[in-house]
């Protein structure tokens, strides 16, 4: 018996035979103008026959199937009417554009998919909707016209994920490190307006935010700047104040004193301007720019002192937070802060240890900064540099070794040093390791055979990304290609040299290592005997594939621990569809991110970081490890303990603390997720408020902080996160 009908937009409605009767009547009316009693009986007869045929199906039937049956039944009775019906269906189909439903759902504002697609975007906003509208069109054309069928199919089935289809129609890049130094020191152009070298710190900060917004609008991924590029302007400002006081006849000592005072105020104002600009401006991607700020004391030893001053101010302002619409200080999502740990700030007797203590307090309160260990990074990469946006790391370039030289024509190029700022990423395709494992049915030989097939499919998809960009001319984004952010190429010049020569990276992503290893071996990849070696072998072989492609094509293929923010839900749903429910593998609405240890696994925070560091080492295109913590604002030494462990053991890690805010009762602890009728609901533990519009919830989604809530799958993952850093009793 049929109870339900599945409509074209996927929604379910109750079956109603009156609708069948009405549809057939319209076709008859179309042919005969009016209905005789005889015809009406015929219509009733056809309706009954349709209902009988439909009842062969159980439960739910698709609307298109019903129409096929109607077509069949009419054709048995009346040729002309059936012709009218078929024509009517055809015309409706033509009128029904492939993107109509998606667009109407988006602007309708009721659909969970759009509301939770990206936790940094608010789908109710007209400006965000404009970005999403473009995205829907881009996705549609990408799937129908720009990608080969096998890739579209594999993407639909969740075997791989072709990221950022919503931007693929445009020839733009993913993420980058902005060459801010070149732009500030040698001038740039924003919107055809020439911007010369600033003379003071505060001006440099303002220009920096304009550059960031312009760059972020010209690509779809995150950007990073470093404070080192701003530090020379601190000195310029100081000299400016100092000379003013000397000119006014003050002695050296007084001039120094007053100049320092003025400088401190200017740094305060400059950093505040930066924070307000970044969080209040919107890019063409319908959100605040995805920006990370690198805080590394030793990037340019000439300016360590000035960098320290800016870091201190950034951390102090971050701890305070920013006011929400109620005037209450809450955790801001941007910029993400990348604090680099090194010999001169990690030991208690280090000169800049006070900054690390401040960073510890700041992270306990505001979930930022994240930590990069210079010690581990030097060992792994030979250099120290930040990630592009949230986690994507460049691999060192091969320009000095290969004598390729200054392909980007940057004015600050140094032939003896590796270059990082001004380089970028061409995009990501992610391999779903869980599907790979399940498709192999635990047969190891089949596993590696499918591994070969599917990595080559990813390769083909990555080639599509690369070839889409090839031939792009610099006019697409002058700020990037002509005015210094990446390069200073000519108008009309192609960007191809920057897509080759290992100048930019392209990312082979992976997801679900945990579920993959667990299914194949029966144990987690934390298991030292069986699970870990198998997990490491998968990682190593993925790296080998990248190396092989890199060698052949001089494109910097690199293995990348994809954030799969909302893709986790898509993957999980597809896995359930394809393989049914398998305990601990497909029984959740999410799969585990990258190489991460399963969020549910009860593991000591240090052990987690220690084990994950082995996998992070094999994820050179980027990855981040985190530990989940309780409120640690009252125990800063415990935070410092973890930070020191990070310095010695893992290149890139972060602490997930909690500081939410309920507008109804003013509670500022952790807002909890509760489960009700299979729905996950955010609820204030004090006043039980459940109105998402009346609470600020900030969680680390993947690398960035999200503040606009998440889809059902990601929410379940957040709820399931085991808190590593809290009191744990020994179980008997």
């Amino acid at each position: 018996m049929i109870n339900n009908v599945c409509k074209r937009d996927g929604s379910i409605t109750e079956f109603d035979d009156k609708k069948i009767y009405a549809a057939i009547s319209y076709a008859y009316l179309d042919v005969y103008g009016e209905l005789s009693e005889e015809k009406e009986e015929e219509i009733e007869q056809i309706t009954d026959d349709v209902v009988d045929s439909i009842n062969f199906f159980t439960n739910t039937i698709h609307v298109e199937t019903i129409q096929d049956i109607v077509e069949q039944e009419i054709s048995k009775k009346d040729f002309y009417v059936s012709k009218a019906y078929i024509t009517y269906r055809y015309r409706k189909n033509v009128a029904r554009n492939t993107t109509d439903n998606a667009i109407m759902e988006l602007v309708g504002g009721e659909n969970d998919y759009w509301n939770n697609e990206n936790s940094n975007k608010d789908a109710m906003l007209a400006t965000t909707q404009r970005d999403y509208l473009a995205g829907i069109v881009s996705t549609d054309i990408t799937e129908r016209m720009l990608l080969p069928k096998d890739i579209v199919e594999a993407d639909k089935e969740g075997i791989i994920h072709f990221h950022d289809k919503d931007y693929f129609i445009e020839t733009i890049n993913n993420c980058c490190l902005i060459n801010l130094e070149d732009m500030l020191q040698n001038g740039t152009v924003v919107n055809k307006i020439a911007i010369e070298k600033p003379h003071r710190f505060i001006t440099a900060m303002t220009i920096a935010t304009q550059i960031i917004t312009a760059v972020a609008s010209s690509q779809y991924g995150g950007t990073t700047i470093t404070l080192t590029h701003l530090a020379p302007f601190v000195r310029d400002s100081y000299n400016c104040y100092f000379n003013k006081y000397i000119k006014r006849g003050f002695d050296m000592q007084s001039a120094e004193h007053f100049a320092s005072e003025d400088l401190k105020k200017e740094i305060e104002d400059g950093v505040q301007t930066f924070n307000y600009q970044i969080n209040s401006m919107s890019t063409t991607n319908g959100q605040a720019p995805f920006i990370s700020v690198c805080m590394y004391l030793n990037e340019d030893p000439e300016y360590t002192k000035e960098v320290a001053m800016i870091i201190e101010e950034f951390l102090s302002q971050r701890m305070l937070g920013m006011k929400n619409e109620k005037g209450v200080y809450v955790t801001q999502a941007f910029p993400k802060l990348l604090y680099v740990l090194d010999e001169n700030n990690i030991h208690e007797d280090s000169k800049y240890y006070y900054l690390t203590e401040l960073a510890a307090k700041c992270v306990a309160k505001r979930m930022n900064p994240d930590f990069i260990s210079a010690k581990v990074m030097r060992k792994l990469k030979g250099d120290v540099y930040p990630c592009m946006g949230c986690r994507s790391f460049l691999t060192p370039d091969t320009m000095p070794e290969n004598g390729i030289g200054n392909v980007a024509k940057a004015q600050n190029y140094s032939p003896n040093k590796h270059k990082y700022y001004g380089r970028f990423n061409q995009g990501v395709v992610t391999l779903n390791l869980v599907d790979l494992a399940l498709s192999s049915e635990k047969d190891v030989e089949k596993f590696w055979r499918l591994f070969e097939e599917r990595t080559e499919l990813c390769h083909k998809a990555l080639r599509c990304r690369h070839e889409r960009l090839l031939g792009t001319t610099t006019e697409v984004a002058p700020i990037l290609w002509q005015h210094g952010a990446f390069a200073r190429l000519e108008k009309g010049e192609k960007i191809d040299a920057l897509l080759l020569n290992n100048y930019s990276t392209i990312s082979l992503g992976y997801a679900g290592l945990y579920e993959c290893v667990k299914y194949m071996t029966g144990v987690s990849h934390t298991d030292p005997e069986v699970g870990m070696p198998f997990g490491l072998e998968i990682m190593q072989r993925l790296n080998d594939k990248c190396a092989q492609w890199r060698e052949a094509e001089t494109i910097a293929y690199s293995l990348y621990g994809t954030p799969i923010e909302s893709t986790t839900y898509k993957f999980a749903k597809k896995l359930k569809e394809r393989f049914g429910i398998i305990p601990d593998i497909t029984d959740h609405d999410y799969i585990t991110n990258s190489y991460h240890i399963n969020v549910r696994e009860e593991i000591d925070p240090f052990e987690k970081l220690r084990i994950e560091s082995k996998f992070q080492e094999l994820s050179p295109g980027g990855a981040i490890s985190y530990i989940e913590t309780d409120n640690l604002t009252g125990n800063i030494p415990a935070v410092l303990n973890v930070i020191k462990f990070i310095y010695d053991n893992i290149m890139y890690a972060e602490l997930n603390t909690k500081s939410d805010y309920c507008h109804v009762c003013g509670y500022d602890g952790e807002i909890k997720i509760i489960s009700e009728d299979d729905k996950l609901i955010w609820e204030c533990p004090i006043c039980k408020n459940r109105d998402k519009n009346k609470m600020n919830v900030t969680r680390r989604t993947c690398g960035y902080l999200g503040t606009n809530f998440w889809n059902q799958g990601r929410t379940e993952e957040i709820k399931d996160r085991y808190v590593h850093m809290t009191d744990h009793e020994v179980k008997e």
């Binding site: 000591d604 925070p605 240090f606 309780d630 640690l632 009252g634 125990n635 030494p637 415990a638 303990n641 973890v642 462990f645 850093m725 809290t726 009191d727 744990h728 009793e729 020994v730």
Partner: protein, 188 residues
């Protein structure tokens, strides 16, 4: 001695990351005690060499910076020999790790007319009287939190303690100064 539970990871009962032993048995019976199932000296589990060694193994991890002993009442007469044995072992094996102890008793410290330390922090000979053992336990600690939990003075915002009458005492400075000296800025 018997014990109630062990925490392999603790961030609440003291500074930095520690491991915690909740001993069993207490005579104080504070109103609304958070842990009244630890009052009965016959409750909990048996503390023996095996458990002690497991506890020491938990301490013996580089990022464990502190050991906290609470209860129950670690300074209850019945618990003194084993608690003393434990702090002595910790001191020997892990001289760099901090020891914190929570007691319901209110401790005192002073100097007599001969200039000798008197009270709970005095360095008394260990003889037949277990009572003096408690001094040796206290002296081996870095921080002692003293005083009953008083429900009417309960305050969840306090660091490392339940009610505002309780004090975080800096033991080594107290011994040096000859008078109760509070620890850090957590007493405010």
């Amino acid at each position: 001695m018997r014990y109630a539970s062990i925490r392999s990871f603790d961030i609440t009962n003291g500074e930095d990351i520690g491991v915690t032993l909740y001993v069993q048995g207490c005579h104080r019976h504070c109103k609304n005690c958070f842990n009244s199932e630890t009052w009965d000296f016959n409750g909990g589990k048996e503390w023996n060499d095996e458990v002690k060694n497991q506890f020491l193994a938990l301490i013996d991890r580089p990022y464990i910076k502190r050991v906290t002993i609470l209860g129950g009442e670690p300074l209850a007469y019945e618990n003194l020999p084993e608690v003393y044995d434990l702090v002595k072992t910790i001191k020997e094996k892990f001289p760099d790790k901090k020891i914190w102890l929570y007691t319901g008793y209110e401790l005192s410290c002073g100097i007599n007319e001969h200039g000798d330390l008197v009270g709970d922090f005095a360095n008394a000979d260990i003889g037949w009287d277990n009572g003096l053992l408690s001094n040796h336990i206290v002296r081996a600690c870095d921080v002692v939190v003293d005083g009953d939990f008083r429900d009417e003075l309960k305050d969840y915002t306090l660091k490392f303690r339940g009610s505002s009458n309780q004090r975080l005492i800096d033991v080594q400075t107290t011994i040096k100064n000859g008078t109760i000296t509070l620890w850090g800025d957590a007493n405010e």
